[in-house]
């Protein structure tokens, strides 16, 4: 019952900055990813998919040379090269009817675009207000999977890749509150994804756990993210190309099913740990010393190490502990008759059994009468037992009720046992099972719970 030394498992800002970013993220790599244009062209050179760049505006002279003819009829996104936190990004949709771009429901003219480009060039959206470049990027229509989850903005997948191994992942969904941005700080949602299966787990909104999308009320857990293997593969490829040792790679899947890299971050946020209820430090330490030979190797390692989906399921339903004597409820299969009894927990018995009185109360009087008249609660000769078995098995009214019979040998002869279907409720858990009827009139408890029905419990024998 010892408590884990927590700071070693959860990554805080201090650890991230001093143990990872400073150690494995070299300045050349940080420079590489800080410029979106530079990183994207590097990805393209290496045949890694990323949204197309239509045009780059590097200075004020470029402003007068924007290829409008090429851009018209197209929908695109304007981004600052060194922007951060989603600032300065505008999405423009071409309206065929009005023959102009629309920003939401507002018309957006060439003059509006040029004005925004000037703001970007002047450095309004870059760190330290340094002069910046702007670029026109292909507008991505999100995959059907994302469209049903979120009604605004472009959802993406953040994968933390360290040493060529994807160690944690999260779906980022924009909300009305976040104004279409998927950044968690802006009010977007973070949905944890199990690395091994690509299935969503928990959702955080402003650092609190929630169950549904606040805008669409969609349930967000237990969903399978499409193209998951491709997502992991491209995430590793992007990290290897960036040169960063530790990076947060942002990935989108578009309506045609293409898996694309949006960008990579040299200092990815830490809230992803809450959405996954897992610590980054622990995962980093598990892959730190591995020699990962290839992208495929990295995927295999991640699959082996960070598949927690089944584990999470089990943990949400903890096994109750049973005492030697338990109060249980036995119900007939149709649920109409029920019986509260004290039962003995007996792992030595294979199956559960109930006494004659209990069987009568559960509606098996006819069966009990037959059994008693044939003397089947006593030890018989083996040959007699076989004969009785044939007799009762021939009775159709019994088989209709799902009653089964079995001949049992013992040291001094044999007997026939009748098994009746019932529901047993132990500790608020209901088990559908077959119990045998035995003569327990000389015993203290009218039921025994045997091994086959104890699988989902722990037992305290004292």
């Amino acid at each position: 019952m010892s408590k884990v030394p927590l700071p070693q498992i959860i990554m805080g800002m201090n650890t991230r900055n001093s143990r990872l970013i400073k150690v494995v993220n070299y300045q050349f790599a940080i420079n590489r990813v800080n410029s979106k244009i530079r990183f994207k062209s590097l990805l393209m050179k290496n045949d890694v998919a990323t949204p197309e760049i239509y045009d780059i505006v590097s200075n004020f002279r470029d402003l007068s040379e924007i290829p409008w003819e090429k851009l018209e009829e197209k929908s695109f996104v304007i981004k600052p090269d060194r922007g951060y936190g989603g600032h300065g990004i505008i999405v423009l949709n071409w309206s065929k009817k009005r023959r102009i771009w629309m920003k939401g429901s507002r018309e957006y003219t060439r003059e509006n675009i040029a004005r925004h480009l000037r703001d970007i060039l002047d450095g309004q959206y870059s760190k330290g207000y340094l002069p910046d470049r702007a670029f026109f990027e292909e507008r991505i229509k999100p995959h059907q999977f994302f469209r049903q989850l979120s009604n605004s903005g472009l959802p993406d997948i953040r994968v933390i890749v360290y040493n060529s191994v994807p160690i944690m992942a999260m779906l980022r969904l924009p909300t009305v509150e976040s104004g279409g941005r998927s950044n968690l700080h802006a009010g977007g949602l973070g949905v944890g994804i199990d690395i091994g299966s690509g299935i969503t787990t928990l959702t955080i909104h402003n650092s609190n756990l929630i169950a549904q999308h606040p805008d669409t009320s969609m349930r967000l857990a237990d969903l399978k993210v499409p193209k998951w293997n491709q997502v992991l593969q491209i995430a590793i490829e992007a990290q290897r190309i960036s040169g960063l040792g530790y990076s947060g790679v942002d990935i989108v899947i578009d309506s045609k099913g293409r898996v694309l890299i949006l960008e990579a971050n040299a200092r990815p946020g830490l809230d992803i740990q809450i959405a996954n209820l897992a610590g980054l430090n622990e995962r980093v330490s598990r892959v730190r010393n591995l020699k990962v030979r290839s992208v495929e190797h990295g995927m295999r390692v991640a699959n082996e190490l960070f598949s927690e989906y089944d584990g999470m399921k089990i943990k949400t339903t903890k096994k109750p502990v049973l005492k030697r004597i338990e109060k249980i409820i036995i119900r007939s299969i149709d649920g109409k008759k029920s019986l509260h009894v004290k039962a003995k927990v007996d792992t030595g018995a294979d199956s559960s059994s109930i006494g004659i009185t209990a069987a009568r109360r559960l509606g098996f009087s006819k069966l009990v009468n037959v059994l008693q008249s044939k003397g089947m609660f006593h030890i018989l000769k083996i040959s007699d037992a076989r004969q009785r078995l044939k007799e009762v098995e021939a009775e159709k009214s019994f088989t209709k009720l799902g009653i089964k019979f079995k001949a049992v040998k013992s040291a001094s002869g044999g007997t026939v046992r009748a098994y009746v279907p019932v529901k047993i409720q132990i500790h608020r858990r209901e088990i559908e099972t077959q119990v045998s009827i035995v003569n327990r009139s000389h015993l203290a408890y009218s039921a025994i719970i045997g091994a086959v029905d104890l699988g989902s419990f722990y037992i305290n024998p004292v």
Partner: protein, 229 residues
């Protein structure tokens, strides 16, 4: 050895400063600012308090220490007020970033200037001192940061950030005004040499910040449950 070092530092700092007719208050603040920065680093690195920028709270605490809390807080209030006002009235003009900044800054400067004159006129106190003008200029530099934070994190978040920054500045100012500390560094100016050493010690802390224990409370709960099973 210590005695000679002490004498040496003393002769090149306080004694020289006194000889140059530098006021005692200025010397005190110069010698204490390193400690304020250390306190700030501690609060951010170990406790996890968030502030706007790193230098803003330090500068703010100096302003508070020199000009008093009333003046300092009022100045922040009016600078913020006129910045928001300036941004509201500049919006319809749809100006570009740089001319727009010039516009807003001139609104803030004029607004704060006239307000200060007005207040000193009705309260019959001495007009704005030279130090206060400097503090105003410094504050102006940081309004940009504050506005950027408010754009990024929303009004509510940026107000709590501002609140935490002011709170830390007040702690720093109280330290700067603490007579015992002032006497200590004035008598032993080499105490300031401790700050870099303590900063190195501070750097060795890699664990979670106090605030992160709360931030990741759900993860911690889950981890403890796991271990117990």
């Amino acid at each position: 050895m210590f005695y000679t070092l002490h004498n040496f530092i003393l002769s090149i700092t306080t004694e020289l400063a006194i000889a140059q007719d530098i006021p005692r208050a200025v010397i005190d603040i110069f010698l204490l600012v390193p400690f304020v920065s250390l306190i700030l680093a501690f609060l951010r690195h170990i406790i996890g308090v968030k502030t706007i920028g790193l230098f803003f709270p330090i500068v703010l605490s100096v302003i508070f220490a020199v000009s008093g809390f009333t003046y300092g807080l009022a100045l922040i209030f009016f600078v913020a007020l006129f910045t928001i006002f300036g941004r509201v009235i500049v919006r319809p003009f749809r100006m570009l970033y740089l001319p727009r900044s010039a516009f807003v800054i001139s609104i803030v400067t004029m607004g704060v200037f006239w307000t200060l004159i007005f207040i000193s006129a009705i309260s019959n106190k001495s007009p704005v001192e030279s130090m206060s003008i400097l503090s105003f200029v410094v504050l102006l530099l940081f309004t940009e940061d504050f506005l950027r934070v408010s754009n990024e994190r929303g009004a509510k978040n940026s107000l709590t950030l501002m609140g935490e920054t002011i709170l830390i500045a007040i702690i720093g100012a109280l330290f700067l005004r603490w007579q015992a500390a002032r006497d200590a560094v004035y008598t032993y100016p080499e105490l300031s040499l401790l700050v870099p050493l303590l900063a190195i010690a501070l750097n060795r802390w890699n664990g979670l910040r106090l605030s992160e224990l709360y931030r990741f409370r759900l993860v911690r709960k889950r981890l403890i449950v796991d271990k117990d099973e």
